[in-house]
C-alpha cells in the first residue's frame, strides 16, 4: 500500500500548510496526504524528504546515519548536551535527561556530553547504549523502539519486538458483537469509532497490535448499522 495519497489540492486541502515547508497548499497543487496520520504536504516536499513530516509517524523518513557533520558547536564546559534542531528529537531535550532509561553513573555529569566534540557527529553513547537513528538520543542496545520518538531502531526498519493490543481494539469488537444482538444503532457507531481510534494508534506506534481485532470491530460495526436499517425497512414495508 502507498504511504501517501497523491492528488491535486482540492478545496479541503486549499490553504492548509505543508508539513515540511509550511507554505500553504493552493488549489491544483500536487499534494501528498499521509495515509497514516493524514498530514498534508506538497508532493515535491514529500518526495524530497522521503516521507511524512509528523514526528513518530510510521511514514516519517529514517534519519541518515551518515549525515554530514554540522558546524562545530562549542558548548561551554559543563553545559548539558541539547539535541540540535532538525534531528527530530523533542526540542530542548537535555542529554542529561537520559538517565531515566537507567544510564550508568556519571552519564550526563558535570563534564557533559557536548562541548569539544560538536554535535555533527553523534556523541558516543555510553557502554550498553546506542544512538536512536531518528532523534539520536541514547537508548539501550536492543531496544526495538526509541522511547522518545517511537522510531524503529532495527536495521531493516521493521519492528520485531512484542506487540500489545491497541487500546480500543478489543472494546470495538465487543461492542460490535453486542450490537449484532441488540441496539446496533448505538453500539455500531461506538465500535466503529473505537476501531478507527485503535487503527490510528497502531499507525503511529509500531509496538501496538490488534489490527485484526480492530478491523473485525470496524466491519461488524458497519454490519450492525446496515442490519438495523434493513430491519427498519422490512418492518415499515410489512405494516398491516
Amino acid at each position: 500500500m502507498e504511504a501517501a495519497r497523491t492528488l491535486k489540492a482540492n478545496l479541503k486541502l486549499d490553504g492548509k500548510p505543508c508539513g515540511w515547508c509550511q507554505v500553504a497548499l493552493r488549489l491544483g497543487d500536487d499534494a501528498a496526504v499521509c495515509n497514516a496520520c493524514e498530514k498534508e504536504h506538497h508532493s515535491r516536499c514529500w518526495e524530497g524528504n522521503a516521507g511524512c513530516s509528523t514526528a513518530g509517524c510510521v511514514s516519517a523518513p529514517l534519519r541518515r546515519l551518515d549525515a554530514p557533520p554540522a558546524p562545530q558547536y562549542a558548548a561551554p564546559q559543563g553545559a548539558p548536551y541539547v539535541n540540535p534542531p532538525g534531528y527530530g528529537a523533542p526540542q530542548g531535550l537535555p542529554y542529561g535527561s537520559a538517565p531515566a532509561y537507567g544510564a550508568p553513573q556519571g552519564y550526563g555529569g558535570p563534564q557533559g556530553y557536548g562541548g569539544p566534540q560538536g554535535y555533527g557527529a553523534a556523541p558516543p553513547p555510553p557502554p550498553g547504549y546506542m544512538n536512536c537513528p531518528n532523534c539520536r538520543i541514547a537508548i539501550m542496545v536492543g531496544s526495538p523502539v526509541c522511547p522518545a520518538c517511537r522510531a524503529i531502531t532495527s536495521p531493516d526498519g521493521i519492528y520485531h519486538g512484542p506487540k500489545v493490543n491497541a487500546p480500543g481494539a478489543v472494546a470495538s469488537l465487543v461492542c460490535a458483537l453486542i450490537g449484532l444482538v441488540f441496539c446496533g444503532i448505538v453500539l455500531g457507531p461506538v465500535a466503529i469509532s473505537r476501531a478507527n481510534a485503535a487503527k490510528r494508534a497502531m499507525a503511529s506506534d509500531p509496538t501496538l497490535g490488534g489490527e485484526g481485532l480492530a478491523t473485525a470491530g470496524l466491519v461488524i460495526g458497519i454490519i450492525d448499522l446496515v442490519l438495523f436499517v434493513l430491519v427498519m425497512i422490512y418492518k415499515v414495508s410489512t405494516i398491516r
Binding site: E38, R194, N196, V231, K235
Partner: protein
C-alpha cells in the same frame, strides 16, 4: 484502512438525524408507535421476536417517539435511559454541525467527547439490563 474523522462524524450524524427525525415523524399510539397514516409499527426488536424477552434497549424507540412529542413521563416509563440518550444524540448532532462550520477537529477524534458518549451508552446499557432483569 483508517476512516477520515470528518466522514465518520457526518455518517454518524446522518444516522442520528435519521433516528431523531423518525422519532418526530412517528406518532405514539398507546403502548405502541404508529405511522402518521395510522398503521401500527408493532415490535421493532428482533431479539424480542426471537427470544420473547425484552432486550436492554427495548422501549428506546417508543421513548424517543414520546420525547419527540413532548411526553417525558411516557418516555421515562418506556425506557428510563431514553431521555439521556436522546439528549446525548441531540448534543452530538449540534456539536458535529459546529465542528463542520468551524472546520475544527472532528468529534470522533476528541477523546473527551468519545469518552462521554461511551459512558452514556454504558449507563443506558446498565439501566436497560436492570430493567430487563426486573421485568
Amino acid at each position: 484502512m483508517i476512516l477520515p474523522g470528518r466522514a465518520l462524524d457526518l455518517g454518524f450524524a446522518a444516522f442520528v438525524a435519521a433516528q431523531l427525525g423518525a422519532a418526530a415523524w412517528l406518532v405514539p399510539s398507546g403502548d405502541q408507535i404508529a405511522l402518521p397514516g395510522g398503521g401500527s409499527l408493532g415490535g421493532l426488536c428482533w431479539f424480542r421476536g426471537v427470544f420473547h424477552i425484552d432486550c436492554p434497549f427495548c422501549g428506546m424507540t417508543r421513548s424517543f417517539v414520546a420525547l419527540a412529542h413532548g411526553d417525558v413521563a411516557s418516555a421515562l416509563r418506556f425506557h428510563p435511559a431514553g431521555p439521556l440518550l436522546f439528549l446525548a444524540m441531540a448534543v452530538f448532532l449540534v456539536t458535529v454541525a459546529a465542528t463542520v462550520i468551524r472546520r475544527s477537529r472532528p468529534v470522533v477524534e476528541r477523546p473527551s467527547f468519545v469518552f462521554a458518549f461511551e459512558s452514556i451508552t454504558l449507563i443506558c446499557l446498565a439501566i436497560g439490563v436492570f430493567k430487563m432483569v426486573r421485568s
